[in-house]
Amino acid sequence: MAQTKTVNNGVNVDALLAARKALTDAPQAAKFAWRASCKWQNGTHSDTKVQGFFGLGQEQKHRTEFSFSADHPEIFASEDLGATPVEYVLVGLASCLTAGVAAVAQNRGIQLRSVEAKLEGTMDIQGILGIDSDVRNGYDDIKVTFHIDADASKQEIEALVAQSQKRSAVYDIVTNPTNVSVVVA
């Protein structure tokens, strides 16, 4: 794709491509572990912190510790001190897909002007309340709607969004089963 002007979406694609090449030759360094530590506060309110993770063969750290309060809204008789956990799933999906759109656009030489996504996950709470065992606990459907303003045709923008899903970790986590072991230490 010939570029006549410099495209800048704030993504260092050269660094990403160099990392891809380096990790192809040293696949062990590609093994990452992401972590979170959660502490119950009161009622349905908890605080979760993230800072340390493992990657490139050693322990790594975010520049600062990030903290996330989760709770349930008042209609669930909670104090509403944070977003609900299922909303955090939407946060993860939205931010992962959006980061992917920016990276793919940069790699394809497409200048972005604005990228906005609206997400809606639908759920029948008869599942979590144990009213009907045929109803699942989680989302029965998630819809993501992107509004993208960019120097590109509609088809190119659709391709960006498709490629972003193809390379997204959270999209994969949400759409495919994952083994989860919950143990008591």
């Binding site: 088809q155 659709e158 391709a159 969004v161 498709a162 490629q163 899903q165 193809k166 999209y171 994969d172 949400v174 759409t175 495919n176 089963p177």
Partner: protein
């Protein structure tokens, strides 16, 4: 009921090798495999007067005879099916060869090319020696200065490890073992994979009256005909098929692409997901896991369709652009057309009970891979594929033919062997001329 692949690999004949080690036959070049690719190479070597033999574990065109389902026809139309110095000359140029016709076509080629084929001769080992390669077969040993590996790209059915989690009541078979619907138990069938193989099996088994669920991952959608011409005519005429391996952005990916959703029928029907849905096949996402007797499918089906539709439309754009710039020289009358997007089921199925009796059979149409267990030269990558640069293997005098996108996009098809065989044997001849024979 299928003869077990791969005849040539394992130690079914090791007793004779040491007894006969005193008689080592010398030949300049050995071709392994008398399929279309090996025979094309043989023809080119004969033209250059390079002495050689073609070692074949079974009969000429062995895989076409024994490792295909009954109804299979080539994806390429007859007029396109050609080899160096040999082409289809019948009265149905737009039809597609049955397997019996392919076997006849390739066998006839072996005859007219007078290919020095040794049938029923399985190679059990190839090692590097000073002046070339030591080749052990179940009928004696040979030495050659160069070797062309033309043993096929589809020796082994690749099956994901989650096969082991299937309930024991399920009959599980690969596309190499499948022959026809009569072979299957009554009841529903889950087909995993939506390449040419998966869609053809889904259609045929659905027509036998069975319930069919098709698990669809990444796939390549193509219409059978476009603007009145076969889509593979377009691939040929527009130059897409001639694109060289060293011009392709992501070659690794191109080589692993599933075969396009095509079927060769006299009616030239399109067999995409929409056609299968209309035929009553249930479409699910990629099979992600089998847990507690249930198959779990990915919820990413919509994006699989979006990717395939976008890629198909980009290819059709390429065709239109070529037709436009070729002006009067493009023999196309019909206007550009675009096809309906792939329909996403209202409620894509996320799981399927494999224990309630509604599904009796699982068929793995999850791809094939070559078998190199007999190859004892360090030329395989971490995943067991040959390291090669357009068929020139990473070991002096060693070559390969008949692999997907080997030197061009068309390399995956029979007629792609023509240019590839010429290129490879030219390189091989130069190698022989350059490297003197040791005394």
């Amino acid at each position: 009921m299928v003869e077990q692949f791969p005849g040539r690999a394992t130690g079914r004949t090791s007793k004779s090798s040491s007894q006969r080690s005193s008689i080592i036959e010398r030949v300049t070049t050995i071709i392994i495999g008398a399929g279309h690719a090996g025979l094309a190479a043989s023809r080119c070597l004969t033209e250059q007067s390079i002495d050689h033999v073609v070692l074949e574990r079974g009969e000429v065109a062995n895989s076409w005879r024994r490792e295909r389902w009954d109804s299979l026809r080539l994806l390429t139309p007859n007029w396109q099916t050609r080899l160096p110095g040999h082409r289809y000359e019948g009265s149905r140029p737009d039809d597609f060869m049955t397997m019996a016709e392919v076997v006849a076509f390739v066998s006839r080629y072996a005859e007219i090319a007078r290919a020095p084929v040794r049938t029923q001769t399985a190679v059990t080992s190839v090692t590097r020696v000073d002046d070339g390669y030591h080749v052990v077969t179940d009928r004696g040993e040979l030495r050659a200065r160069s070797v062309v590996i033309a043993s096929g790209a589809c020796n082994i059915a690749q099956v994901p490890a989650l096969r082991d989690a299937l309930p024991s009541s399920i009959q599980s078979l690969t596309a190499l073992e499948y022959r026809n619907p009569q072979q299957l138990a009554d009841g529903g069938v889950l087909i995993v994979g939506a390449s040419a193989t998966g869609v053809q099996l889904a259609d045929e088994i659905r027509r036998s009256g069975r319930r069919v669920v098709l698990a669809v991952g990444e796939h390549v959608r193509l219409p059978r005909t476009y603007r009145g011409r076969d889509v593979l005519w377009w691939m040929d005429a527009s130059g897409v098929w001639n694109q060289r391996y060293d011009e392709i952005d992501d070659l690794t990916r191109a080589r692993k692409l599933p075969s396009p959703q095509l079927v060769g029928t006299p009616e030239r029907v399109t067999l995409d997901i929409n056609a299968l849905t209309a035929a009553g096949v249930e479409i699910a996402g990629r099979l992600a896991m089998v847990r507690d007797g249930r198959a779990l499918f990915s919820g990413g089906l919509r994006n699989m369709f979006a990717l395939a539709d976008l890629k198909m439309n980009r290819l059709l754009d390429t065709f239109d652009e070529w037709a436009r710039t070729a002006n009067g020289s493009a023999p196309v009358d019909a206007p550009a057309e675009r096809f309906e997007p792939t329909q996403v089921p209202d409620k894509p199925r996320l799981d399927l009970d494999l224990r309630d009796g509604s599904i009796q059979t699982v068929i793995w149409a999850t791809g094939f891979r070559p078998d190199y267990r007999w190859l004892h030269v360090p030329v395989l990558d971490a995943k067991g594929y040959l390291r090669h640069d357009g068929g020139i293997v990473d070991s002096p005098g060693l070559y390969t033919l008949g692999l997907p996108v080997l030197r061009r996009r068309k390399s995956s098809f029979i007629h792609g062997s023509e240019d590839d065989a010429r290129d490879i044997t030219t390189h091989l001849a130069q190698y022989l001329a350059k490297v003197p024979v040791k005394a």
